[in-house]
Amino acid sequence: MAKRGDWVRIHSIVLKAAERTARLPEDTQKCDLQQWTKGFLQDESANIGEKVTVKTAANRMVKGTLIEEGPYYTHSYGKFVPEFIEIDRQLREIMFGGDK
């Protein structure tokens, strides 16, 4: 449960799929236009999935569905990609491995 003043992430639907009128590819036309932002919870307390209001970093009041408390990033430097080892070896061979 998140309490007033906690830093949270919210989600909302800006346009339902049927409301999207822009010229869009077929696959996008079938999707809602979704939006995420973060801010300080303004409600006394709330559970994930409840409608809430937050005050964002730019001091805007924004409504949405609470989806995460204490949101953090998980993007990374990725997994092992063996091709890069091969590129490194090849470059060093060409540059420093003598004239071939």
């Binding site: 346009l15 009128t21 973060k38 805007r60 990033y73 990609v81």
Partner: protein, 471 residues
């Protein structure tokens, strides 16, 4: 009375919202026909190059090192005919506050917003520009909101864009993230209307004036270190800001014979507004998906007239593939000892191949590097590509590359080969679109229109007439 905030109502007020958010009435520059007064728009900033340099130097921007990439030059010469292989230099724009050349654009736009008394700034961008505006807003004491296209409908984010959101937040900005689609503009306008913030558009004259210092510095550094003007400058190209501003700066420095080359990653076949294709690309900018539409229709932007006009300043237009950019990014780290990019290395990959066409004493400058970070790195990009079912293998990019299906890493550096895009076809397309958009029959073109189209495409009257089938 509260304004209606539904889609149609907000979009219907777009012009007024824009006018308020830019502090500039674009109507003054219109001729009422095809032409508009581009130089008057650029002069409307009222900042000289000296003043911009001062603004930038107060906020950690500009005066970045020009690095000679000696090992990559030597490597390129191994694949060139004897006596060929230009000296390759790169402007280390990662050294700017916030880690990219975009800080030059942002410094100027944010300073201008502050001067006009705006409380905050906004930008619609999924690229480095967001972090640049956020960083400048932090330094100059303004609020900042960045609106990003970041996720597909499953909520899966492109690693590079997610990293850029993190950077914006680190600089204190609010980041509004959206799923794929051009209606981002509606959210952007709606928030701008509510907040009254300045539109620090990528396409405003303030932003482009900020890039002129980059071109000017390149010219001065080449003269100082090499004793001559650059023979060729290669710019990674999407919206056209980099090549427009850099070329203008180079011209202001008095370089008469520098060839300007636009380079973009070839993503032919991928639709930029497609939800299912959004995460099938491994670069989020510097690609043809943005570059070709913006090149042939420069005003396709969030301002009435874009200050970015690629074809005015481009002599050659080349493409390169995702796999070649990835390979070159690894080579830059492994042979030159600097981790930069990947997206900003599009021009570097093209330059490696272009250098082989030039003699050894020629000077070729790559106009930028950009910072590297989690997500914004070749390893997470290739990991993400594999997880999305993209095939990754060594081969011949020129023969095997299929954007959205595979990434072909060149089997050796000799397979890094730029492709020449048909710039005349872009020019023709630009001319026709300009006439069509303004609703002017080519037969009714004024002398001013003709002059405008010649300047817009860096061509001549005969070319414009032939394109429009005029006698």
């Amino acid at each position: 009375m509260a304004l209606a905030k539904d889609y149609d109502s907000v979009m219907g007020r777009a012009n007024d919202i824009m006018k308020t958010a830019l502090g500039l009435d674009y109507q003054e520059f219109e001729s009422g026909s095809v032409a508009f007064d581009y130089e008057a728009l650029m002069n409307a900033t009222n900042y000289t190059l000296d003043e911009i340099t001062k603004i930038q130097s107060r906020t950690g921007v500009g005066n970045t090192p020009l690095l000679e990439l000696r090992n990559l030059t030597e490597l390129a010469r191994k694949y060139a005919k004897p006596g060929y292989g230009a000296r390759i230099f790169a402007k280390d724009e990662a050294a700017n506050a916030s880690g990219s050349f975009k800080a030059r654009r942002a410094a100027c736009a944010v300073a201008h917003a502050k001067k006009l008394g705006y409380k905050g700034v906004m930008a619609a961008t999924s690229g480095n520009y967001g972090a640049a505006v956020a960083s400048q807003a932090a330094m100059q004491g303004l609020e900042c909101i960045i609106v990003q296209e970041c996720y597909d409908s499953r909520g899966v984010g492109q690693p590079e864009i997610v990293e850029k959101a993190r950077a914006c937040e680190a600089y204190g900005a609010e980041v509004v993230q959206l799923t794929v689609g051009p209606e981002l503009f509606y959210s952007f306008l709606s928030i701008m209307e509510d907040t009254g913030y300045f539109n620090a558009s990528l396409y405003s004259p303030f932003g482009i004036a900020g890039i002129e210092t980059l071109g000017y510095e390149i010219a001065m550094q080449c003269r100082e270190f090499v004793g001559k003007d650059p023979d060729m400058v290669v710019c990674t190209t999407a919206g056209g800001g980099m090549i427009t501003g850099t070329a203008r700066g180079i011209m202001k420095a008095g370089c008469a014979n520098t060839q300007m080359v636009a380079a973009a990653i070839d993503l032919t076949g991928l639709h930029m507004a497609s939800d299912s294709q959004f995460n099938r690309k491994s670069c989020t900018t510097g690609h043809t998906g943005f570059a070709v539409p913006h090149t042939t229709d420069p005003d396709l932007s969030d301002v009435p007239r874009a200050a970015t006009r690629t074809l005015r300043y481009t002599d050659r237009y080349v493409t390169i593939t995702q796999g070649e950019v990835m390979y070159m990014t690894e080579a830059l780290a492994n042979l030159e000892g600097i981790e930069r990019g990947p997206a900003g290395n599009t021009a570097l990959a093209a330059a490696f191949s272009l250098a082989q066409e030039l003699p050894e004493d020629a000077v070729l400058v790559v106009s930028e590097t950009e910072y590297t970070g989690a997500g914004k790195h070749i390893q997470p990009q290739l990991t993400f590509a594999r997880e999305n079912g993209i095939e990754i293998k060594f081969g011949d990019p020129a023969k095997e590359d299929k954007p959205g299906e595979n990434i072909i890493l060149p089997k050796n550096p000799g397979y890094i080969k730029h492709q020449e895009a048909d710039i005349n076809r872009f020019r023709q397309s630009m001319i026709k679109k300009a006439c069509k958009k303004s609703g002017v029959d080519p037969k009714d073109l004024t002398a001013e229109d003709m002059r405008f189209l010649i300047e817009e495409t860096k061509t001549n009257e005969e070319f414009v007439k032939r394109t429009l089938e005029l006698k």
